[in-house]
Symmetry: C2
Subunit: 354 residues, 2 copies
C-alpha cells in the first residue's frame, strides 16, 4: 500500500520493543504498568511536546490572553448503565474532573459519539438525557459534537469521547513538578465504590449490595480548596488503576518517595467486603469522584476540613507524606504495621471500568 512506512523517515525508532509487545492487550488500557509503558515508550516520545511531557491530566497553556486547560477522555465502560450512573454521567464528570485536576474552572465540553449499528435509539436517548443532566449539574455546556456509527459487531453500543476546556487563574499552578518533600497527601473520600458498582452490574458476579458509583463533579471541591488558600501542589483523580497507580505515576515522574498509611484510607464496609470476596485491593480500584491532593504540610488540616465540609459523605483524610528521602516510589504501612512497596498492576484487574 502506498502509505506503508517500513522505515520512519525521521530515523526515530519506537522505544517500546515491538517484538516483545506484538499485540495490544486489555491491560494497555487498564491504568497499570502496561499502559504506563505504552505512554512512556511509544506515545509520549513520538508525540513529545512540552505540554504533553508534563504527564498531567490535561494541558494548561496560554492562548490569546487566556490561561486555559484542555483535556480529553474516551469512555468505553461496560455495561452502559450501572448503579448510580451510566456512561453519559461518567463522560461528563470524568472530563470535568480532569479539568478540575488542572486547577481549571470547567466551561465547555465537546461530545464525540461512536454508536454501534443496531443500538436501540431509546438507549441513546437515555444516555443523552444523562449527559444533559450531568452537564447542567456540573455547570458546563456541551458546545460542539460529532456522531459516528460503526457496523454491528464493531462497537459495543456506545463509546463516548468528551474533551473539555476550562480557564485557569493566573495564581494557580497545579502540576506533578510542583510536589516537594514534606508535602501532605490528602485523600478526598472513601475508595472503591465505582469499581465495585461496575463489577456488580456485570451479571457474572451477582453480589448482593446497593453500592453505587461515586461519580460526581469535583470542580466545586477544588474551587473551595483554592478559595480557602490551601497551597495545592498537584491534584490527581483516582480513576483507572486507583490510588496506587496515581501515586506511583507521580512518584516516578517526580523522582520522589511517597509514604502512605493504610489505616487512614477510608473504605466502606460493604466495599471492603466485596473486595475481599473478589480478591481485590481497594487501592487499585477505580473511583470516579475521588482525588488526592498534594498540599503543603501547613495546609493539610485546612484541606481536610474543606473536603469534609464540602461533601455529604466522609473519608477525607491526610493519608501520607512526601518523604524527605528514599528511592522514587510508594511505600504503604499496612493495617498490621508492615511496610510494603506499592507498584502499578502489571496485568488488568478491571477492564473497561470507565
Amino acid at each position: 500500500m502506498s502509505s506503508r512506512k517500513t522505515i520512519d523517515p525521521s530515523g526515530f525508532s519506537c522505544p517500546l520493543p515491538l517484538s516483545d509487545h506484538p499485540l495490544v492487550l486489555m491491560a494497555h488500557g487498564g491504568g497499570g504498568r502496561l499502559m504506563n509503558q505504552l505512554i512512556e515508550k511509544m506515545l509520549g516520545p513520538a508525540l513529545s511536546s512540552p505540554l504533553l511531557d508534563q504527564r498531567h491530566d490535561g494541558a494548561v497553556f496560554e492562548a490569546g490572553n487566556a490561561r486555559l486547560a484542555l483535556t480529553t477522555d474516551s469512555y468505553v465502560v461496560r455495561p452502559l448503565f450501572f448503579p448510580g450512573g451510566d456512561i453519559g454521567k461518567l463522560a461528563v464528570n470524568g472530563t470535568v474532573n480532569d479539568l478540575a485536576m488542572c486547577g481549571a474552572r470547567p466551561l465547555y465540553l465537546s461530545l464525540g459519539l461512536i454508536l454501534e449499528e443496531g443500538l436501540p435509539m431509546d438507549t441513546l436517548w437515555r444516555v443523552v438525557q444523562s449527559i444533559r443532566d450531568t452537564a447542567a449539574a456540573a455547570g458546563v455546556q456541551i458546545v460542539t459534537g460529532d456522531t459516528k456509527v460503526v457496523d454491528r459487531g464493531k462497537g459495543d453500543g456506545i463509546y463516548i469521547n468528551t474533551s473539555g476546556v476550562g480557564v485557569v487563574a493566573n495564581s494557580v499552578s497545579v502540576l506533578p513538578a510542583n510536589v516537594r518533600p514534606g508535602d501532605a497527601l490528602v485523600l478526598s473520600g472513601d475508595l472503591g465504590r465505582h469499581g465495585v458498582a461496575i463489577m456488580n452490574a456485570r451479571e457474572e458476579l451477582g453480589l448482593e449490595s446497593d453500592i453505587e458509583t461515586d461519580s460526581q463533579p469535583l470542580a466545586g471541591l477544588v474551587r473551595q480548596l483554592l478559595d480557602a488558600e490551601v497551597e495545592i501542589r498537584c491534584l490527581r483523580d483516582l480513576t483507572r488503576g486507583g490510588l496506587a497507580s496515581a501515586l506511583v505515576e507521580i512518584a516516578e515522574s517526580t523522582g520522589l518517595h511517597l509514604e502512605i498509611d493504610e489505616s487512614r484510607i477510608a473504605v466502606r464496609e460493604d466495599v471492603r467486603g466485596a473486595c475481599e470476596i473478589l480478591g481485590l485491593d481497594p487501592i487499585y480500584i477505580a473511583n470516579e469522584g475521588r482525588f488526592v491532593a498534594f498540599v503543603s504540610a501547613a495546609s493539610a488540616r485546612t484541606a481536610v476540613d474543606v473536603l469534609t465540609a464540602g461533601q455529604q459523605e466522609g473519608g477525607a483524610a491526610v493519608i501520607g507524606t512526601v518523604s524527605e528521602a528514599g528511592p522514587p516510589g510508594v511505600t504503604l504501612k499496612s493495617r498490621i504495621g508492615v511496610d510494603r512497596i506499592v507498584d502499578m498492576l502489571s496485568g488488568e484487574q478491571l477492564p473497561r471500568i470507565c
Copy 2:
C-alpha cells in the same frame, strides 16, 4: 436498574419519534438526512446551548480574554490505511480543518485512542508516526491524550478522537448566520478523491487507479484568504455527505436558496470514471481537503485567485451564488442545462469514510 429513567424528570420528551426510529442505522453517521434528523431532533434539542445551536463545525467563544474555537471529531475510517493516507492523517487534518472552518488558527489537539485488543502494536506505531508527521506539517501540537482498549470483536482496530483548540482573531466572524443573498460560493478544488480512494482500498471494489485521498490541512489556505481581505461569510469543509449535504445544511439553517452550476465543479477524469462505474454522484462524495467558502460577490475573484495560487492542484472556482429569492434549499444546473433540486441522501452511500 437503579439508573433507569423511564420518564424524563424534566418533562422534555425526545422530538425524534423513537417508535419510528427504533434502532441506530449506519446512515445515522453518514452525513445525510438521517444524521441530520438525529442532530436536529435529538442531540441538538436535548443539549441545546447558544453555541451548539449555531450548527457550525466547531464552537467559537470567549474564555478569559481570548476568542477561541473548540471542535471535535471521531475517526472510524475503514480500512486504517489507504492510498495517500491513513486514519492518523485524517484525524489530525480533519480537526485542524474544522478549526480552520471556524476561522481559527489551530494550535493544540487532544488525542483519544480506542484500541481493539489484539491490534498489532506495529499498526499502532505506524498510525502514531502518521499523527506526529501530520501534526508537524499542520503546525499543531498534541498536548493531551487518553488511551482505552476494548475487547477483541468490540472495536475495529483503532478509533481516534481528536479535539482541537484554536485562536480566532477579533476581526473574524465566520458563521452560517452571516450568509446573505448575493454571496458567491467558492469551491476550493476538485471533488471526490477521498471517497473514491477509500472505496478503492476496500478490496471488494478492485478498481485499477492511483487515486489518493485529498486529505490536507486547510488552515493555511483560510489564512491566505483572510490575509487577502476576502470577505468570508462562512466556510464549510466537504466531508461526510460531500458538497451536496454541506450546502443543503447551510441552506436549511439559514433559510436561503443556493444555486450551483455543475459545469463549474471540478472532478478529475479518473474520479469521474470511478463514480460512473460505482453509480455515485461526486457532489455526495466525501473529501478531506476541500471546502466551500461563502464570500461577498466583490471578493469572489480574489478568493479564487488565492486558492489557485495556494495549491499545487487546480479546481478552485466560483460554483454558484446565494439567490435573492426562492425557497430554502439548493438547486443545481446540470451539465446538460437542466435544473434539479439537490437534497441530502436519505440512506448511506459510503459508510465509515472518515
